[in-house]
Symmetry: C2
Subunit: 386 residues, 2 copies
Amino acid sequence: MSAQIAGTPIVGVIGGGQLARMMQPAAINLGIHLRVLSATATDSAAQVIPDTVVGSHEDWEALKAFAQGCDVVTFDHEHVPTEFLEELIKLGVAVRPGPHALQYAQDKILMRTALTEAGIACPQWKEITSEADLAAFGETVGWPLVLKTARGGYDGKGVWLVKAQSEAIGVVNQIHEAGNRVLAEELVLFTRELAAQVARSPHGQCVAYPVVKSTQTDGICHEVIAPCPDLDQERAARVQAMAITIANTLDVHGMLAVELFDTGSEILVNELAMRPHNSGHWSMDGAVTSQFENHLRAILDWPLGSPAPTSPATVMVNLLGKDVDNLHSAFRHVMARDPGIKVHLYGKTVKPGRKIGHVNATGGNIGDLLQRAWHAADYLTGVIDE
Amino acid sequence: MSAQIAGTPIVGVIGGGQLARMMQPAAINLGIHLRVLSATATDSAAQVIPDTVVGSHEDWEALKAFAQGCDVVTFDHEHVPTEFLEELIKLGVAVRPGPHALQYAQDKILMRTALTEAGIACPQWKEITSEADLAAFGETVGWPLVLKTARGGYDGKGVWLVKAQSEAIGVVNQIHEAGNRVLAEELVLFTRELAAQVARSPHGQCVAYPVVKSTQTDGICHEVIAPCPDLDQERAARVQAMAITIANTLDVHGMLAVELFDTGSEILVNELAMRPHNSGHWSMDGAVTSQFENHLRAILDWPLGSPAPTSPATVMVNLLGKDVDNLHSAFRHVMARDPGIKVHLYGKTVKPGRKIGHVNATGGNIGDLLQRAWHAADYLTGVIDE
């Protein structure tokens, strides 16, 4: 299926998850034709995007056929091999973010190296190639410390907290045997986690969303408060500037999310994501321009939309699968109790711990918003029944 | 294609126009599966709804096949014969709004009769069946007066302003020869036009949106200001109560739009629409719950969302086709000039005067919002080039 109307841009999205799905409302409004490369015909995004191509992002022929005819190709996830993206560019396809940027979201050692060179504050880190490396790094930062696979981790996977050299050696060997590299980081005793999102377009325009407070459960983002409470303006502006510096340094096109540790004194970069991100779902109901609209505008090199909040605060709580299969069964109670709550479902079958949706509550009083959002999330997933 | 996830409601929408299209973002968020019956595979809604069935709403077999398997059937337009809807109900299909209500949106003489019986203020009116009727009514209300076809008119079509009996007789004969009935109404010298929208669910819950000011060009809605400026609270509440009374009296399920004349002293009902309506497009960017979300919630008999505005005012201006084919060519200028403007395109080929999209501007100062929205609309359609 191709676009029918003069000038309609065709955006190819690689990956059929909820991030691709949530681009579709913004695309509908702006008259953008989305084409999605999805592992199955029933993935989250495939359910709502007519121009769905079933195929794997690891199959070069499928990827090439998918990308040709797209005005620009972008991503639902960061797992496409950069070699393939380089080949697409040689064929004349616009890929945004490009592989020159995406490599830093795919490989944590590359990311730490680049950020450190750019003078961006990170936890102390070292690549571990030997037992001697490990011992020396343990000596420097103390135990416990954190080990990560350089590539392939997400949502808490690929991360280990290790208490001693003996335990750490096993993890290091396991990662090396799997053909991956090992990044060691100091354990940061943070008081809270922050996230800063910017959109950046190829011609260099940047807009920064308000810095948010993010709370994880078992390594999965669970709650976001936007803007972050009790963060003074000067510090918030410094964090936004840090995110803009990273976007410029790495030449990111599209949305960039920077996850950060706030230790009270320092603010250190934890992770990067170069796509719409869970920490920005609040923007769907709480900002003039959602992260999904700004991602599309950025990769099309259109001027960016205002990231200003539309109300004093928004709280987002993720719906993480429990043992209730049918989330709609709770809609009546949740909607009757709170006519202002905004429910977002991803069309995913429920599995324990799986992200299956989120709720947003907007208003003035953060305590009230937290209560509203958590009640809705807990009722929808079956944690509570009243 | 059927819905995959436990409990996913399937909503069938008859008609593939922009109103069906704009239901899709709300449906995506709420995990509702839309199925659309569209005249072609490339209609406005068909472009963005995977489960598109190509067929005519006037073809009983097509309609029946479409409706079976839907949890509820609703409408993009009001042109489906009520006999067909009655038959669907006999087959066990939930049709909302039902034919018992929809008939009043299809037939202006039925509508005037019902509203007059319910004590709702209307312009003076009379069905014209003879020259004597016409002469008597002209004597009562004076000339010029308005003639309308009872059925089938929209966007200014099916409406004549006639100056004298001699001219009127020609129009009356022409309508009668086409097999339609004739409604005559006094010409109301209004100072402005208003619109009041409510959502109503089968179990009887109603929410009322703020009353808006609507401005028409050649019978087509062109500009909406929400809420209506200089309308005192008591009068606004009275208009909202009138719309709720109409929704209750006619037992409407889903969105009801009531278009009204404000003469300065009186407020009189002009037209009704039982679906999302152009006068409510502002709600997509200016209300907690858009009219499209509340239409879906109402027909599914879910509790309704808050119709409260999210900012002091929103101005909507329609994009009416001129001679520029490619609306995207103007996006860069419009978006760079105003990062807060919200553009909505319908995926329609441009024809002179055709509704091809709209823009919304939200903020505090109505003069400023009017300037912003009109500049964007005029630039996008090629009326101005700077």
